[in-house]
Each structure stands twice: as C-alpha cells, then as structure tokens.
C-alpha cells in the first residue's frame, strides 16, 4: 500500500516499450476487447439525440436534438425509477457493503484451512447461480405457496407475505444480494488480509495487544485502502442496482416499486420500440455515474487514500 513511486522520468518511452513489451503484449487482447465491446458501442449514444429507427439505421434516422431528454425529465415514471434506484442503492450500501468485510475477517480468524475452504466454497457458490435460479429458490422457500407459508398454513397460522410486499421490497432485494453475492465479495478482502505482514501481529501480541486491539490497529488499517477502493467503485455504480433481479420480480411487487433506471430504459425504451428514449435514460445514468465516481475518487484522495488510481 505504501510502495515507493515508480521512476517516471529518465527512461525514454522507446526503452520502456522494449522493456515492457511482453507485458504490453499480454494486455493487448484485454485492451482490444475493451475497445470493441466498451468503446466502439459508445457511438450508439448518438441515438439518444435522434428518433432512432432500427430499420433504417443510425445514419438515416431523424435528428431530434434534446427532445428525448425533455420528454424524460417531464416523465414522472422516470423520476420514480430514479428515486427507487437511489433508495435501493442506499439500503444496499448500508446493509450489504459491510457484510463481505465482516465475513472476510471472520473467515480469516478460522485457523483450520479445511474448515476455512469449506465455508468459503459454501458462501461463494450462490454467486454462480443465475438470478432466475436464485429468485426461484426464494420463491420456493418464502413465496405465497412456498415452504414457509405452506408450513404456516398447515398449522393454521397467519401467512407471511415476503415476496410480493412492496413496502419491504428493498429489504428483500438486499437479502437476496447478500445471499448471492456476499461470499463472492470477500475474495478481494481475503487477498488484502493475506497481504498484511504477519510480523506485525506477532510484534503486537508480544507487546500485549489483545485480539480486538490487533483488529483495530493492524487488520483494519491494512484493509483501509481496499475498503475505500471498493466504496469508490460502489458509489460509481450507485445507479446500477441490478437489472435481471428486478426485471424478474417486477410483476411481483408492481412496476412503480421495482422499476429502476435500467428496467425503465428496458420497458419504456426497448420493449416499446422507443429506442431513443431508452438511450436517453441510459445516457443520463452514465453521466451521473461518471460524476459520482469522479467525486468519490476526489474524496478518497482528499482523505489520503489511493482511490481508483494514485495521484
């Protein structure tokens, strides 16, 4: 975390090119993929300023200027989707974000590698399930005709509406995210934990520091860089709160509860052939996300952390 800065001046770019050529070659495929799949499609943003018609293509579609944005900002459904997005994002930040860190610390304190590996496998397996499967499992367990409610019914108890209650939908969605992604999220923290010099713990223990003091003074400071990095990334992605997960459950709680910016673009743009409108909503989201990631990064730098990159 505190490695010395690399020497930048002195060596010419030709020398550096020759020195790093195998590394550069190795990154080339990734760069190519990035260009082809992330940068070239950026051109499609032009449709947000058109009345795009897929039959005649981008070149011939009518130019509409800012018309789609005027429509967008006058649309109460759009503002509803934005509110839902921010709300879900906030709930997930508070309830989900600390969990992988806590899990990683917990796992790190388990001494037996066997037990550790077993727990780790179990908790990150759900990551590989698709959302369809994950939600089906929730539905089978907690749905109106699921295991829990059928049990309650057979014992003449009141049933509990978990899956279709709009009021608690944010908690349900977050619970699903925790179940599915928390295990996967610990990987980066475990790696950071492994990078902490064990001598520090030994020295602290020798000085009489207990478990909590070691956690507070060694482990957490060691993780701080990574936590801040993850937080910056999370804030940058604040407007992305899951597409499939909400798409699948949209009918369960109603469109005005479940619509986020991504599903809004889909239903009110793509699904009705109103592509330009969807593109405008998508572009708005990207611009705000960019601003947020930039702001969060600034904040990280202000606190003396690396953030996304080192200044």
């Amino acid at each position: 975390m505190t490695a010395p800065r690399t020497q930048r001046s002195g060596t010419g770019w030709r020398v550096r090119l020759r020195r790093d050529r195998s590394l550069l070659l190795m990154t080339l495929p990734a760069v190519l993929l990035l260009v082809v799949f992330n940068y070239v499609p950026l051109f499609g943003l032009v449709t947000a300023f058109q009345e795009y018609d897929p039959l005649i293509g981008v070149w011939y579609s009518e130019w509409a200027g800012l018309y789609q944005f005027e429509r967008l900002f006058a649309d109460p459904l759009f503002w509803g989707a934005l509110t839902n997005t921010l709300y879900l994002s906030f709930v997930q930040l508070v309830l989900f974000f600390p969990i992988p860190i806590a899990l990683a610390l917990l796992l790190n304190s388990v001494l037996s590698t066997r037990v550790k590996n077993f727990i780790q496998s179990v908790v990150y397996l759900p990551h590989f399930f698709s959302w369809v499967l994950a939600i089906t499992i929730f539905q089978q367990m907690l749905g109106g005709a699921g295991a829990l409610n059928q049990f309650l019914r057979s014992n003449d108890l009141a049933t509990w509406d978990v899956m279709t209650n709009p009021d608690t939908f944010a908690l349900l969605v977050t619970a699903q995210v925790i179940w599915k992604e928390a295990g996967w999220g610990i990987i980066v923290f475990l790696a950071a934990l492994a990078a902490i010099n064990t001598d520090l713990y030994e020295a602290a223990a020798a000085d009489g520091a207990g478990r909590w003091r070691r956690l507070w003074h060694i482990t957490l400071p060691g993780l701080r860089g990574v936590i801040v990095l993850m937080l910056v990334l999370r804030l940058g992605n604040a407007l992305t709160v899951g597409f499939e997960q909400l798409l699948i459950q949209r009918d369960a709680v109603g469109h005005d509860t479940a619509d986020v910016l991504d599903t809004f673009s889909f239903y009110y743009g793509i699904a009705t052939g109103d592509y330009s409108y969807g593109a405008a909503a998508g572009l708005f989201k990207s611009v705000i996300s960019l601003l947020m990631i930039w702001g969060a990064n600034k904040l990280a730098h202000a606190f003396g952390e690396d953030g996304l990159y080192r200044r």
Binding site: D53, P54, L55, R153, Q249, D256, A271, T272
Partner: protein, 559 residues
C-alpha cells in the same frame, strides 16, 4: 407454432403488449430510406391483389374442417400419417439457381451441407443456402441486416414483433412485391400456394400489395383461451358447460381452491377473458366514432372482475407474484386448475408433459362465453398467419418465379410426398416407418429441424398428435364448438403502419403495467383509470385522432 411461441419466453415480457398489437395487425411503420416514414394501411384495393383460394381436395382428413363466417374455418384433424403418399409437384420446381435463406431456429443448428440439405436441394432443383439463426435472438439479428440493407434472398419475419419492429417500412424498399406473380388467378400456377386461405395472404400485405408468403396459416386464428384440467374437473363431477358467465367461473374458485393442499383454482386469466365482457380487442366504432378499449365500460368491468379474482384468494400466489414461467408446471402438477393460454399449447408435447406429471392428465378449454351469460359469445380473430417469408427486392423476376415454385413445393399438403421429405427427410436415412408411424433416426434428429424449411412456406395448419388421438379429438371438437364465436375485430389484418410517437402510445406501457399490477391485486381499478387518463393526455388521444384520420376515414374498418 406452439413451440416457437413458448420458447420466446424472454420476449414474453413484451408479449402482452405486442400480442394485442400483433393480433390486431397493428404495425408501426417507419419509412424506407432517408428517414421518411411510410404510413398507411390495407384497404379495399387489396381485394384485387389477393390470390384466388383453391382448396386442395387431395387428402381426406379424419376430422374435417368446419366453416364459420367469412375467413373462418377450423383446422382439419388427422389421426394417422397417410400411408398413401401423393405427389403434388411434377418434376423439380427450380432451374438450378442459388439463393441464401434465413429462418429462425429454436434448437440446435444442424451441420452445414448435410445429407438433408443435399436431398432437399436435389428435390427442389435449386441450391438453397440455409442459414438458420437463433430464434431467441432473432429480433436483434434481423435489424442489423435491415439497417445494412443486406437481407438474404429469402427470409422469414414474424408479425408478432409488432411495434418494436416495423415490417411495413421494409415492404417495397427491401422486400419484393409479389402481387404481379400471385394476384387473382395467377396463383393457380402454384396450386399448393393457392390452397392457402385468403386471410393468411391478407396478413402479409402492406399498402394493398402482397409481400409475404404465409407459413402456418389457419382459418381459426385466435390468440388464446381459458383452459382447465378436464381430468380433475371430471373426477369432481364438474363439467365445463356449467360455466356460462363470469360469475359461474368465479364460483368455481371456491369449490376448487384448497390452499392447505397447495391447490388454487386460478392462474392468470385476464389476457384471454377481457373480451368476454364485451370489450373490444383494441378498437371499436360506436356511432361512427373510434373508441379505444381503455375507454370502454366493458373493459373496466373486466378489469374489476380480475381484480376481485386476485383478491379472492382463488389465485395461486406464484401467479400473483408474476411468475409466468412456471405456469405450465403448476398446471401439470394440479396446483392450478384454470388458466389462460395460447392455443399452441394444446398439442402432443403438452400431453407428454402433462401425463408425465399425472397419467390421467387431460387438457380442456371452456367454450367462449359472454360474461353476463346472456349476450352472444364473441372471440376476436387474429391474422390468418402470424409468420411470413419474404423475397429480396433485388431478385430478378425469373428468380422470384423460381423461388415461388420452390415455395409451392414446400407448401405441399400434409401426408404428400413433398411434405414427408420437407418434414421428415429421406426414408431410411432420416426416418423409418414403423407400423404407419414415422420415427426420426439419429441423423433425422440432427439434420431435419422441423422449422427450417416450413418457415419459408408451409401448408395450412392441421391438427395431428400421433399417438395421442384424444388430444386431436378434444382440440378439433373445441374448435368446431366455438367456430361461430369468431369475429373480425376492427382493422382486422389491415397492417396499419404508424409513426413512432403513435406506436409508443399504442403500446401504452404504463397502462399495461398498471393493469397487470391490478389483476395481480396490487393496484385498484381507480389506479388503472388514472393511468388511462394520463395515457390519454400523454398520447392516447392523439393516437385515436391519428387512427381516425389516417385509417378509419381512409380505409374503413376492414371487417
């Protein structure tokens, strides 16, 4: 057609919207080149372009068709595969031309240049380069071809894409006008094409000209109906004809629902039941004025009934949670006993899935009824064919004639020599005949994908479920019993092409969303009314005005 409809599950999300639009033949239009939008519809002049109808008398079905009103005819039923194969085409239709063809395929793409393709090319006398494309992504593959103006020589395009894809804009700019080759008695040169019903040709026409060659055409075209578990009903001593009104149906809910046993009477039924209340499919004309379905009292009554159903406790909780994907499983497992669905589900595959869950499984459908129990039962017709194939506008006249001759071969009737080759391949290589039943060999399973050639041209629909005669008998009997209820909706098969703003209003996503929330019990009828009010001011009224001025006043109702 049932299979492909089922497999476009992802598109099912939009199907509720596109479904109505397509069923009524409303298609958004955008223009050919240069950003110009072509708008319009089919009118009276189309009659001169339509091919003559010369039904084929080659084969006697086991269960003959029953005629209803104009353009209405039930599908004939077959209980065995005809052993006496008749040839309907003499010689080879082609002159050795080479063409590319793209069709959607829901399944594994067969190896290129396989024995089946070779046998087909030999029989057709042309080299057709078949390029099956992934059916699930077909709606995204095709626009890349149209935008680049690189359509193949022959392509299959479904009507059901509705407002998200505009066929009217391609007609005449990228797709060839077939009117000069097929209008009136010219079609008699191609007897198997002449045997396709007129309504199917009408559905492939834009601006009074013929463009599409119909596939899976039918004289009994309705979107779907309300099904029930006949085996379970019979075991409980309930017969379907007890249901004569909406309240009769609701009352079944009490009798059949048993939550402790995990059984609820109903799955979703709204989509195929709202017209029973007297609501139009989408439009109707009252005293010369156009009225949208959302503006009618009858529709609100239907929505109210569905809301009460959702709140009654007779609907399966998973259905209320919007889990449509497992509706089939619930029905097979006897967890739901009544549910709406497309007619394409009533077939052999359904029978096999159902009997796997319960050996007594038997699907039944309620006869179309009027909600009040007194009015004349009405169900609105869709197009005579929902998928058509099209020829590229760049083909020369003699090439078009060659491909139409090939289409004539592909449209040969059920049980003919040609039909057998197109659908089952070569005997001994792709199939064997075992006691009158055709069984696919391994090569047949791999190479003869049932939908490859039939998506370019196929004979009129028939009902056959070899090995499950009960299904064929039940389904044909139901069609015959309901044939009189089939009614043409306003603007039937007029293929209206409208500007983008109108098509967005036509899709009415917000109303459809609120409506769905309402028949799942999450929104009230008043919420739906509010959504309709905001839809009207946000484009709905303009849509109505546009439809009145550009379609009703110019072309009439098409009924």
């Amino acid at each position: 057609m049932g299979i492909e409809l089922n497999r476009r599950r992802f598109l099912g999300i939009t199907a509720s919207v596109a479904g109505i639009a397509a069923a009524e033949g409303l298609l958004t239009a955008c223009g050919g080149g240069g950003g110009q939008r072509a708008v319009g519809a089919n009118g009276e002049a189309l009659k001169a372009a339509l091919p003559d109808y010369v039904p084929s008398a080659l084969l006697k079905p086991d269960i003959p068709s029953v005629a209803g009103g104009p353009d209405v005819l039930t599908d004939p039923g077959f209980l065995t595969y005809p052993s006496n194969r008749v040839a309907t085409v003499s010689g080879v239709p082609g002159n050795g031309g080479r063409y590319s063809a793209v069709t959607p395929l829901w399944g594994t793409v067969p190896p290129a240049d396989n024995q089946f393709y070779q046998a087909m090319n030999k029989a057709l006398g042309v080299t057709l380069d078949m390029k099956p494309a992934d059916g699930n992504n077909y709606a995204t593959i095709v626009p890349t071809m149209t935008a680049a103006k690189k359509l193949p020589d022959w392509i299959q395009l479904p009507l059901w894409w509705g407002s998200s894809f505009n066929l009217g804009g391609l007609a005449g700019t990228q797709l060839a006008d077939l009117t000069p080759y097929l209008a009136g008695d010219k079609v008699k040169k191609y007897p198997n094409l002449a045997a396709l019903p007129t309504g199917a040709w009408r559905a492939g026409a834009w601006g009074d000209k013929l463009y599409g060659i119909p596939t899976s055409s039918t004289g009994f075209s309705i979107a779907g109906t309300t099904f029930y578990r006949r085996d379970i009903f019979e075991a409980k001593g309930i017969t379907a004809d007890q249901v004569k009104s909406a309240e009769d149906l609701m009352n079944l809910g009490k009798e059949l629902t048993d939550p402790k046993a995990g059984v609820w009477a109903f799955d979703d039924v709204y989509r195929y039941i709202y017209t029973h209340f007297g609501a139009p499919l989408k439009w109707r004309v009252d005293n010369g004025k156009l009225v949208h379905v959302y503006e009618t009292e009858e529709w609100l009554a239907a929505v109210d009934w569905c809301y009460r159903l959702a709140k009654s406790g007779y609907m399966h909780p998973d259905a209320l949670a919007g889990d449509n994907a497992n509706a089939g499983t619930r029905f097979y497992g006897g967890k739901t006993l009544i549910g709406g669905g497309g007619l394409g589900t009533w077939n052999l595959a359904d029978h096999l899935s159902g009997t796997a869950a319960n050996p007594n499984y038997r699907r039944g459908a309620f006869d179309v009824f009027a909600a009040d129990g007194k009015s004349k039962p009405v169900v609105y017709m869709g197009e005579g064919a929902r998928m058509h194939s099209f020829l590229n506008i760049n083909l020369k006249p003699e090439q078009i004639e060659e491909l139409l001759a090939v289409a004539n071969y592909l449209a040969a009737p059920y049980g003919s020599v040609e039909y057998t080759l197109v659908n089952f391949g070569v005997e001994g290589v792709h199939h064997t005949v075992d006691n009158g039943v055709l069984r696919a060999t391994e090569a047949g399973q791999k190479e003869v994908q049932a939908t490859t050639y039939p998506f370019l041209a196929s004979p009129g629909s028939i009902v056959q479920n070899l090995g499950a005669d009960q299904v064929t008998k039940d389904y044909t009997a139901w069609q015959a019993a309901n044939v009189k209820a089939l009614t043409k909706p306003v603007f039937w098969s007029m293929n209206v092409s409208m500007p983008q703003a109108q098509s967005t209003a036509d899709a009415a996503q917000q109303v459809e969303d609120t409506l769905k929330d309402c028949y799942h019990g999450k929104k009230t009828v008043d919420d739906v009314k509010a959504a309709v009010a905001s839809w009207k001011s946000g484009g709905g009224d303009r849509l109505k005005q546009w439809m009145t001025e550009n379609v009703l006043d110019k072309f009439g109702t098409g009924q």
